[in-house]
């Protein structure tokens, strides 16, 4: 009696309601208030970065030596700085640099880190040992310190910042990816792939990589927040972008001296801008982490 005639196992085998992992994650994110708040704030700043000059009521560069150090008023919602420039406009346009540099740097670090992590985790042995030494060496230098030496010797340009931050994120991300890959390679689907004669690049990128995507996503969002942090700090220290470019950290550095004179608005709004942006990214990264874990 052949098996063809026997009734098939029932469709009830499906787990109720799961139409796919990715949709599930998105839905959970959209339901999470922290994610939504973060996303909205980030969206606002992105709009500022893209449409800055159009949105700003005045030119951020326009000096008005008669209207210096004016407190917030209906004409200048955020007041004016020491050269009479409108603070609101400077805050709006100041978002541009940071929102270009930080994500690019993080992306660089993520891509490099993923590749190195995959190599280290999959091949182990000699490759792991050698790359591991490099990873540890790079890890030993705190980001700000590395930024200082690089910007000083290689010149102050956005490209240098991006590369330095990207390179310094690489070991951090590589470490996480490596740990995840070590776990995955023990699973049987990797062995099954080897038994099909699949080559190493296929196994690493087609089989393993999709499964370690979650920790990479989390790393990206966490590092992004720190990238913003670091770029701002380096800018503040005067190592990066220079005045008269509108930039939050630059303004804080320039105007910090006059705060005791009572001109608090020249620093506060920039500080708030920084805080809101970093908070937004952090909120989003937390929600992403929770959604991918749960």
């Amino acid at each position: 009696m052949s098996i063809v005639d026997i009734p098939v196992e029932d469709a009830g085998a499906l787990q109720a309601g799961r139409s796919g992992v990715r949709q599930e994650v998105f839905r959970q994110l959209l339901r999470s208030p922290t994610f939504i708040v973060g996303a909205i704030v980030l969206a606002i700043w992105i709009i500022c970065a893209i449409f800055g000059p159009a949105l700003a009521p005045h030119s951020p560069y326009a000096q008005n030596l008669e209207g210096i150090n004016k407190a917030p008023s209906s004409a200048h919602l955020f007041g004016t700085d020491q050269l009479g420039r409108d603070m609101l406009s400077r805050v709006i346009v100041g978002s541009r640099d940071i929102l270009i540099i930080a994500p690019l740097a993080t992306l660089l670090g993520t891509v490099l880190g993923t590749v190195i992590g995959l190599l280290m985790g999959y091949f182990r042995g000699f490759v792991d040992d050698v790359l591991g030494r490099f990873v540890e060496a790079f890890l030993a230098i705190p980001l700000i310190v590395a930024g200082m030496i690089a910007l000083s010797t290689l010149g102050r340009s956005n490209l240098v910042i991006i590369i330095v931050i990207g390179l310094l994120f690489t070991p951090l991300i590589a470490r996480t990816v490596r740990a995840a890959v070590l776990l995955e390679r023990e699973l049987d689907y990797v062995a099954a792939a080897r038994l099909r004669g699949e080559r190493a690049p296929y196994i690493m990128f087609v089989e393993i990589l999709p499964n370690v995507f979650a920790p990479i996503m989390v790393e990206f969002t966490v590092r992004l927040a720190y990238a913003i942090f670091a770029v701002l700090t380096l800018t503040y220290l005067g190592l990066a972008v220079q005045p008269p470019s509108p930039d939050w950290a630059v303004d804080i550095q320039a105007n910090y001296g006059v705060v005791p004179a009572g001109y608090w608005w020249e620093v506060l709004f920039d500080a708030l801008a920084i805080a809101t942006l970093v908070v937004a990214i952090s909120l989003m990264s937390d929600s992403v982490q929770k959604a991918l874990e749960g």
């Binding site: 052949s2 029932d10 085998a13 787990q15 699973l187 062995a191 099954a192 004669g197 499964n211």
Partner: protein, 694 residues
């Protein structure tokens, strides 16, 4: 309500309440805002000194009930109905302090994974002593009493073990420690949740013996939870069968298993391969359909969708627990005729070419295969001079416990692990390269594997279609139209539907996932498929369907199987020949019926007697006791590696000289110094293939 005194003396003949009394228990889990009633209307009692078993497949709620009884449910779980009384005390009404005292003195629990149940950073002795300290003993005194308890659980070096950390002890040892800790306070009730599931067969037998002995000594009542019917039959007086959160049958264990009165129980027992069943003459029956989603409660009988006896009444009227004669109960409107449940798969196979006969030509020949691992300064002898052959169309069963090397052997044959120099493996007479990457395409195609755990074996990010198509194109060389055609054929052969193609593994049940894995293995038209515990991770009812499938595929595709399993019942059912491994050596090799009956290697003998089966009946089987733990493969004993535990130990010859694997009869080899005739005499009269044991 009687107050609990801290030292309940069982010698006093005071009228005492049942150890455990559960009535109409209902437990609900809140998941994503919805309340799922995962346990409904469960009632049973465990009398003084009695042993009660809760048995069921995954999702039946047995572990949930255990945790609910001691009020240790997860944060989103709660007892939403019913009553639980331990020693007459209403557990659900206790305040925190009284609950703590109850846990300290009256009820204890033993868990499935003893390694995780102990704190990894505290020495084992201290953890046991904690129980005594809690009762008020001084530190020194509690350590002494802890050591005494370790002796009671038959640990051979109690003082040494006291000073060890959990990671330094084996599974069997750890479980004894946990048992010692549980019984230290002399509780009225001991709950055991799958206590031996994670242990090897011979170790499991020892631990079960221990538990029985302790039960007599301490007079404790047991609530024994397991999915293994054989274990429950052996250890319990009464049993309750659970299905999807409800108790569907209850009664004395022996009677329930001999004469079930609920269709689910009937179906379940038919899924299990029995001693007289061979794949050639009797297919395993299955239970159609699958488990309902947790908390999904229909208006009628919970089992109606899968029941062969279903009638209209079943769907509208949920059956209560009917009383059946003999102190039994069954939740079925038609419990009197439960046994007339029609079979899903007819037992007889018509086109059988005959029983186990000599199969075709030798396909794979492994000669002197050894594998030594070097890890962190230790040398681990995985395989030592193993030689076997695999013939066309046959199933070779590999049997053994931890450290036996069965998985290592499979991996070397497949090329996933390179064997030591001097090992020779050939396919069709041609040498196989040591790693899969270096083998020819034809060789890759010919040898495939079905892994134990489908969650690990299938890439969870790939769809079913992709998983199988990749194998079809890589191994089978199919493309385009031909690939789609072959894909559809494969799908139907493993009893999947096209609807499943676009799904990911996470959306499929265990049985369906394993079918995908099987389809993938067969994609390249292999000649040999290694089955590494293919059904161990599945429920019994699902296992039967998969075994039937493997069987049928063997005939239609003419493949040979290297079938690895620790479940001797399954191996006996499926295998034509069997190899018994111990610490990397073959102890016995031969046709299944010869290996499973005397004369046999003492280890095989002990292994067989260790497995708790349902065929006990009224015959008191003589249990072969094996002393001690399985030695570590890093430190194998000298001479015959089995001599440290062998109940038929001869003397110096066993310590000094390793016996050769000698053919005692054509095709049947045993590695033992005892001559065949002597074995025959010692192990009882020779018996026929389908007969009873000893």
């Amino acid at each position: 309500m009687t107050p609990i005194s801290d030292t309940v003396r069982r010698e006093d003949n005071l009228p005492q309440a049942d150890a455990l009394d559960v009535e109409n228990l209902e437990i609900t889990y809140r998941v994503r805002g919805r309340g799922l009633r995962v346990v409904r209307d469960v009632s049973f009692r465990v009398g003084r000194g009695e042993s009660f078993g809760l048995v069921g497949e995954s999702g039946c709620g047995k572990s949930t009930i255990a945790l609910g009884i001691v009020r240790y449910l997860a944060r989103n779980g709660s007892v939403t109905g019913g009553k639980v009384e331990i020693d007459g005390r209403d557990v659900l009404a206790l305040n925190a302090s009284d609950l703590r005292k109850l846990r300290q003195n009256t009820v204890s629990m033993v868990y499935q994974e003893p390694g995780r149940a102990l704190n990894p950073t505290i020495k084992v002795g201290r953890q046991v002593a904690e129980v005594f300290q809690l009762a008020g003993a001084s530190k020194a005194e509690s350590l002494d009493r802890a050591q005494e308890m370790l002796e009671k659980v038959r640990i051979s070096n109690p003082a040494g073990v006291m000073n060890r950390y959990p990671h330094q002890l084996s599974g069997g040892m750890l479980q004894r420690v946990v048992i010692a800790m549980a019984l230290a306070a002399q509780p009225s009730l001991l709950i055991l949740d799958e206590p031996t599931t994670a242990l090897d067969a011979t170790v499991e037998a020892e631990v079960l013996e221990l538990i029985s002995a302790l039960r007599t000594e301490f007079g404790t009542s047991f609530l024994f939870i397991s999915h293994n019917l054989g274990v429950i039959a052996k250890m319990c007086d009464r049993v309750g069968v659970l299905y999807a959160g409800e108790m569907v049958e209850e009664g004395p264990a022996r009677e329930v298993f001999a004469n079930p009165r609920h269709p689910y129980a009937v179906g379940l027992l038919r899924c299990i391969p029995r001693r007289d069943m061979l794949k050639a003459n009797r297919a395993l029956d299955t239970i159609p359909g699958s488990l309902p989603a947790p908390g999904d409660v229909p208006s009628g009988c919970i089992f109606a969708d899968r029941c062969g006896l279903v009638e209209q009444r079943c769907r509208t009227e949920a059956p209560p627990l009917y009383d059946v004669d003999g102190g039994r109960r069954s939740r079925c409107h038609f419990h009197e005729r439960a046994q007339t449940l029609p079979r899903v798969i007819p037992p007889e196979r018509e086109d059988v070419p005959g029983e186990r006969q000599d199969r075709g030509a030798v396909l794979v020949n492994a000669a002197d295969v050894s594998k030594t691992f070097h890890m962190e300064g230790e040398t681990i002898y995985g395989l030592v001079d193993v030689s076997i052959e695999l013939r066309a169309g046959e199933t070779l069963g590999l049997v053994g416990e931890s450290g036996s090397g069965k998985t290592t052997l499979a991996r070397t044959l497949l090329g996933l692990t390179a064997p030591d120099k001097g090992s020779e493996i050939t396919l069709d007479g041609q040498a196989l390269a040591e790693t899969a990457g270096k083998r020819t395409h034809e060789q890759e195609k010919a040898l495939q594997i079905v892994f134990q755990n489908p969650d690990s074996a299938l890439n969870r990010r790939h769809s079913v279609q992709r998983l199988i198509s990749r194998a079809l194109s890589r191994l089978g060389g199919y493309r385009g139209e031909a690939l789609m055609a072959r894909l559809k054929k494969l799908i139907s052969e493993v009893r999947l539907s096209e609807r499943h193609l676009s799904m990911r593994p996470a959306q499929l049940s265990g049985g369906l996932k394993q079918r995908v894995a099987i389809a993938r293995a067969f994609a390249g038209d292999p000649r040999i498929v290694v089955c590494d515990e293919p059904t161990s991770a599945l429920d019994v009812s699902v296992q039967a369907a998969i075994l039937n499938l493997l069987n049928d595929l063997q005939r239609t595709e003419d493949v040979s199987y290297l079938f690895i399993s620790h479940d001797l019942g399954v191996v006996r059912y499926l295998a034509d020949r069997i190899a018994v491994l111990y610490l990397g050596r073959i102890m016995e090799l031969g046709p299944a019926d010869q290996v499973f009956n005397p004369p046999q290697h003492p280890y095989t003998e002990a292994l067989l007697s260790a497995v708790p089966t349902l065929e006990n009946g009224d015959v008191e089987r003589e249990r072969i006791q094996l002393e001690g733990e399985i030695p570590s493969p890093a430190n194998p004993p000298t001479g015959c590696v089995f001599h440290t535990r062998c109940p038929r130990f001869l003397g110096d010859i066993c310590v000094n000289t390793e016996p050769p694997l000698a053919e005692s009869e054509p095709g049947h080899a045993i590695r033992c110094h005892i001559p065949l005739d002597e074995l025959r005499r010692l192990q009882g009269k020779e018996v026929s293939v389908a007969g009873a044991d000893n």
